[in-house]
């Protein structure tokens, strides 16, 4: 049997699970409301008079900080709470197929929410002549960043059967990934620490890499960064699950 088949089966079930509970709807609606509010009200999209989506993408790292762990928190903790993890992992599937399948499903939910922000693209195209290549890069970067956050949520949800604990730990870890490269924090650190250390820590931050892509520079290093965060976090998820099973 095809190795991808179980991944697709698990992902399909996961997605239907998201829509059977209100999680997916609530996430999508809140994400759309908040992006709209911050882009148009707080950042003053119209007042700027620029044909860019900078004010739209700038909020994504912060919105994802709370919204993505809310999507990912149930990924494994729910399986552990219900005991279905015992069913799933005694099926003829490997743990990594289950991990990837579940991860892809939640990523698809976040991707769907992101896709539904298309009116903002239409608006900016109606009002001016934006560089649509930059916008596409911005969306791609945003999706990669969401994936990185989500993989961290997957990891923390494997740690506990309690969704709230899973959520809080995921937010804290993601917050670290933001702050490590956020200018107000790095500017503060430069006064005490040597610049190479600050840069080294900042290299671990999503901010540094997201800003690069958001400006339209699709550097392979930035893409590789997000992919390696995902790979590392999902690999750790597997280690945690195995340790949990071994007792």
């Amino acid at each position: 049997m095809n190795r991808l088949h179980p991944i697709i089966t698990i992902a399909k079930r996961e997605i239907s699970g998201y829509f059977a509970s209100p999680v997916a709807f609530v996430f999508i609606v809140i994400f759309l409301l908040l992006t709209g509010f911050f882009t148009f009200m707080v950042s003053g999209f119209f007042d700027r008079g620029e044909a860019t989506l900078d004010s739209f993408f700038a909020w994504h790292p912060w919105l994802y900080l709370f919204l993505v762990p809310a999507v990912g928190m149930r990924m494994w903790s729910e399986e552990r709470r219900l005991g279905t993890i015992e069913l799933l992992l005694t099926m003829p599937v490997t743990p990594w197929q289950a991990i990837v399948g579940k991860f892809l499903a939640s990523w698809a939910i976040v991707g769907l929410a992101l896709l539904l922000t298309f009116p903002v693209v239409l608006t900016v195209n109606y009002l001016g002549r934006p560089d649509n290549g930059v916008i596409v890069a911005g969306y791609l970067g945003s999706l990669l960043m969401a994936g990185a956050y989500l993989s961290i949520s997957a990891m923390t949800s494997a740690l506990t059967r309690n969704q709230v604990v899973s959520f809080i730990v995921a937010v804290l870890l993601s917050l670290f990934l933001i702050l490590a490269g956020w200018p107000p924090v790095t500017n503060l650190l430069v006064r005490w620490a040597s610049p190479w250390l600050v840069d080294g820590v900042a290299a671990f931050s999503v901010m540094t890499h997201f800003e690069g892509i958001q400006k339209g520079v699709l550097d392979s290093r930035d893409v590789l960064y997000f992919l390696s965060v995902m790979a590392f976090a999902l690999f750790t998820t597997g280690v945690i699950l195995r340790a949990h099973r071994a007792g």
Binding site: T9, G17, E86, L89, R245
Partner: protein
């Protein structure tokens, strides 16, 4: 169960039992017993692949930190065998089953399912197994049909094969009325059967059932037992239970596990032999009148070790055989005595022993003083 059925038979014989010869009654109970034991030869004649080892567990151990959950457990289960897994709570039944199904890696030991090693070759091994975990978990947000469809798809079934597998499982587990209902709205019995349906969806050769009748009502229990017994003719089945009559009703073999170790392994009949009462002969006198000197006379029979009075009115005596004498020999001697003394005997029975007594005497060695346990 055996004991019950024998007693039940005597109840049905009520109209003609008066004045009936005691030995005759005893012979009836004997024939009845032998009849139920001859189950295997028929199946072998039918050409089923009986006895082919499907589950082989060797020197299995599991430690959780310093706590030893399972210690050096070995056994095999062949095709056509239903193995009952008995033991007090926390004895290591579920842990053993989780290791067999590949959910928990063992600390030591080997597990073979069919031709595959669970530890080095888990996917083909898992394909052969159907598993009902403890508490029968299922995805609460799915419908019964959706859940079974998902299970079938993960089992590699597709298209028409999947459809027929799902409908067969629904039919077998009597789930037709709730197919479109979501699992979280179901009663415990239905949830249980939903998970059970999942375990048989791919018609596996090996079934591992952790407390399959837990939380079911008596009718459902009966149905599940019948189902297990029927499937046990072609599959290798392990199931754990607290209910001892279930073991007698369903199992071809039983293992008693205590504190992580196997303490008994045999057919239910063999296990019952280890009961303190096994081999004793019970003599029930008819009518209310106390037969004078009955106890003394029984005690004087050469093959009687000791006699105890179980009840005064009606008088019921229990005689234990001496030394190498078997229960059958003792019963014959007592039957002759009863005929000679012209006692009105309502019942003369060789005790087969009771599984719950065996269970208690084996799994409670601390409390066992001469009365409870017999070596």
């Amino acid at each position: 169960m055996m004991l019950l059925s024998v007693t039940a038979m005597f109840t049905t014989w009520t109209p003609i039992r008066r004045g009936c010869d005691a030995t005759f009654l005893y012979e009836i109970s004997c024939t009845r017993r032998q009849k139920t034991e001859s189950r295997f030869p028929l199946e072998i004649l039918l050409g089923l692949n009986i006895g082919f080892t499907m589950i082989e567990v060797r020197n299995l151990s599991k430690n959780f930190g310093p706590k030893v959950a399972v210690r050096d457990v070995s056994f095999t289960v062949g095709k056509g065998e239903v193995l009952g897994f008995l033991g007090p709570n926390g004895a290591g039944k579920s842990t053993t089953m989780r290791m067999i199904t590949g959910f928990i890696p063992p600390s030591e030991g080997q597990i073979r399912i069919g031709d595959h090693d669970m530890l080095t070759d888990p996917i083909p091994a898992k394909r052969l197994i159907g598993y009902l975990p403890e508490n029968a978990p299922s995805y609460a947000d799915m419908t019964v049909g959706g859940f079974l469809d998902f299970a079938a798809e993960l089992r590699g079934l597709s298209g028409a094969a999947r459809k027929s597998a799902v409908s067969r499982a629904i039919e077998t587990c009597f789930l037709e009325s709730v197919v479109h209902q979501s699992v979280e709205t179901l009663s415990k019995g239905y949830r249980h059967r939903t998970c059970f349906a999942q375990s048989i969806i791919h018609d596996p050769e090996v079934l591992v059932l952790d407390e399959p009748t837990d939380g079911l009502d008596p009718n459902q229990k009966h149905e599940v037992r019948t189902l297990i017994r029927r499937m046990g003719e072609k599959k290798a089945i392990i199931f754990s239970t607290h209910i001892l009559e279930e073991v007698e009703a369903v199992c071809s073999r039983a293992i008693i596990i205590d504190r992580g170790q196997i303490v008994a392994n045999g057919t239910p009949q063999e296990l019952k032999q280890r009961s303190p009462h096994a081999g004793a002969v019970t003599l029930r006198f008819s009518g209310g009148g106390v037969v004078a000197d009955a106890k003394r006379k029984v005690n004087e029979v050469s093959s009687v070790e000791k006699t105890e009075v179980v009840s005064e009115t009606p008088l019921v005596l229990r005689a234990y055989p001496k030394g190498h004498f078997t229960g059958d020999e003792l019963a014959r001697a007592l039957g002759e005595l009863a005929a000679k003394e012209r006692w009105q005997i309502q019942e003369l029975r060789v005790e087969e022993g009771r599984l719950d007594e065996v269970f208690r005497s084996i799994t409670l060695p601390d409390r066992a003083n001469g009365k409870e346990a017999r070596p």
